[in-house]
Symmetry: C2
Subunit: 145 residues, 2 copies
DNA sequence: GCTTGCCTTTGAGCGCACTCGAAGGCATAC
DNA sequence: GTATGCCTTCGAGTGCGCTCAAAGGCAAGC
């Protein structure tokens, strides 16, 4: 099998869920893993639980096309913001169901947006505490916790 | 037993790890749970795994003083930023060991700070994707994933 | 034709952070 | 004195998201 030369997916493009145009049309599972930063184990797991469906080549090997890749990248973005896998699955089921489900999809994303904003706030708060501790340890300064 | 009237701890004060001055000197586990937003179960768990030590009153009931409360709040801040409990425990062990461990404590906090910044970045990225989806669903607009 | 390496499926196992249940003690209310 | 409600300890159970192991197939290199 050829050397793995698939570049990890660009963060900018990721934000908009467009894949780099120089990606091969079809990737093996190892290449998909390299491109997405997931492990082959995790890619199989995501397929098994129905988050994505993946073609097979003549030998029965997985063959990831752009659609599959795009979806996986989308899933990783949602996972990176701690959306539960079940919720992601539900959303993607709605996508599969097609037209008519947009209002619910919108509601899901709006709710998730609120969750992200809460998380951002919590993290800022934790960052403040951490900086406070760092400041306390950095000069010869006073009491620690 | 008296009604629970302990106010949840203020977020501003939380940031700097100072408790409101109108908190009772000693809190029952139910009051501590109310003040910190944790459950009594979780408070017992944190004590059991050595994150905090808590006094007992004459009847053997837990009695949380300001020191214990402050530490618990600190732990919740670190947990809110996903610091693993084992890492928190390690840090607090260093605190218990007292002088001489400051450099390692500083290093831990600096590493944690870097982790928080990464998380913030990831969340911003996820927020962008989420907003993108929301925008796609909100007017009568085009293709969804 | 055999080794090597990547692939397949299925099912089980793991680590983390809680979360709960059982069995019983204390103290106030009646 | 007994019911109520909050408390105790200890050990076990849960849910999530992977992660790994076993047993075997395919295909290129020697």
């Amino acid at each position: 099998m050829a050397e793995l030369l698939v570049a990890p997916i660009d963060l900018q493009l990721l934000g908009l869920l467009e894949l780099p145009s120089d990606l091969p049309e079809r990737l093996s599972i190892a290449e998909a893993a390299e491109a997405t930063g997931l492990t082959a184990h995790t890619l199989r797991y995501y397929e098994r639980i129905g988050l994505v469906s993946v073609d097979r080549d003549e030998s029965g090997y997985r063959s990831y096309d752009r659609h599959a890749l795009t979806r996986i990248v989308f899933v990783t973005r949602l996972r990176a913001s701690d959306m539960p896998i079940a919720a992601i699955g539900h959303y993607l089921d709605l996508v599969e169901q097609g037209p008519g489900t947009e209002p619910e999809r919108l509601a899901i994303m709006q709710a998730h947006r609120a969750t992200i904003l809460r998380r951002l706030h919590d993290l800022q708060s934790a960052l403040a505490v951490t900086d406070y501790k760092i400041a306390a340890y950095t000069p010869e300064s006073g009491r620690s916790l």
